[in-house]
Each structure stands twice: as structure tokens, then as C-alpha cells.
Amino acid sequence: MKPEMRQKLAREPFAEKIRKVAQLIRLAKTFPRRTAKPQPAAK
């Protein structure tokens, strides 16, 4: 994301940012990060 966009998000009202945090938490629960496949040990 561009720094200007991040700066714009940072300037949003706190209540709006908290709503976005809740959305991010829901997204993270819906789409949990996949753990990387274990790599074969290097010989």
C-alpha cells in the first residue's frame, strides 16, 4: 500500500479505525495464514 494511503488511514477517526480492526480480525479468522510446507532438511 502506498505511504499516502496509509497516512490517510491513520488520519481516520478512532471509532472508524476500530471498526476496521474488527473487520481485519474477522478476515484473519476466516482466512488464517497457511503455514509453509516443511522443507526437507538440507544435506
Binding site: R6, A10, A15, I18, R19, V21, A22, I25, R26
Partner: protein, 170 residues
């Protein structure tokens, strides 16, 4: 909605109201929101899984106030899960403030969140506390705060100097 029914939204107003209740009942002297949620007051939103409430206990001692705080909330029907109190399913940790964090509570910014009066750590204290803890995520928080928050550099330097702290070299 029942007091401990999980919420789809982040129940921050309930968290702040609960913290205010501790002052009203005389269990603590003062409190302020710290940690990731305090940082989000100044920077772009990011996912976080708990709220950190720093409080100034009425009495002194290592566990000052914490057993009484948890007993108070359990009596009201809140659930406790390890070191967290669950407010509508959202974990909240109460931490006794001392030294730098006590100063951060005393000098915190007064805000109004959805009609609930509250206090949030000032940006300069968030940076100084992150510098004092020094984990990788604290270094990332410092960088983000320096990029996005309107910091009072003189105030930050003053806090860092008084608490003998240095910002990590990027």
C-alpha cells in the same frame, strides 16, 4: 445484549466503561489504554487480539489490585481466560503501571469514545515504551509511529532521556 455475549464488533466502549467502573468502585486510582489499540489511535488500523489497560493501583506491591480487579469482574459475570478478562469475547489484560507506564497513564490524552470518557497513552509514551521493551514487534511499532503519527520530537527526546532509553537504529 447480555453483558458477556460475544460481539461481532470490537467491544471497545464496553472495555472502557468497565475500566471506568474500577475507578468508581475505588479499586484503582486511574487507568489508560495502552498497547496496540493505543497505537491504532495514531496510526493505520491493524489486527490485534487484545486490549491492554494500564492502571495505577490504589495500593503498592507486585500484584497490587489485580486479584481484586478480576474478582470484581467475575462477580459481574465476565469470564477469565488465563491472564485475560473476556469482555463480549474480546480479551482484555489489566496491567499495573509503574515507572514509565505510570507516567504514561498520568499524562494520557483524554478522549471520548462513543460517549464513554477514556484516556489513551500519548504517541511519545507509546514510542518510549516500545523502545524499553525492544522486541521485534516493538521496533516495527516505533517505525510505524515515526512514519504516521504526529510526534512531538522534543517531548519524545525528554521522555527517552529521563528514562535512559534510546530508539533502535533503523
Amino acid at each position: 445484549m447480555a453483558i458477556n455475549q460475544p460481539s461481532d464488533n470490537l467491544p471497545l466502549a464496553d472495555v472502557l466503561r468497565a475500566a471506568n467502573g474500577l475507578v468508581t468502585t475505588g479499586l484503582i486510582e486511574d487507568w489508560a489504554l495502552g498497547g496496540a489499540l493505543a497505537a491504532i489511535y495514531y496510526v493505520e488500523p491493524f489486527a490485534t487480539y487484545d486490549a491492554d489497560i494500564f492502571f495505577i493501583p490504589k495500593g503498592k506491591g507486585l500484584t497490587a489490585g489485580i486479584p481484586a480487579i478480576y474478582a470484581h469482574f467475575q462477580a459481574q459475570g465476565w469470564q477469565v481466560e488465563r491472564e485475560h478478562l473476556l469482555i463480549r469475547g474480546f480479551p482484555v489484560q489489566f496491567l499495573a503501571a509503574q515507572g514509565l507506564t505510570e507516567e504514561a497513564v498520568r499524562e494520557a490524552e483524554r478522549i471520548d469514545y462513543e460517549g464513554v470518557p477514556a484516556k489513551v497513552f500519548r504517541a511519545e509514551h507509546i514510542v518510549a515504551i516500545a523502545a524499553s521493551v525492544g522486541r521485534a514487534k516493538d521496533k516495527a511499532r516505533i517505525e510505524q509511529m515515526l512514519q504516521q503519527a504526529d510526534l512531538d520530537k522534543t517531548k519524545l527526546e525528554n521522555i527517552l532521556q529521563r528514562h535512559k532509553l534510546k530508539l533502535p537504529i533503523p
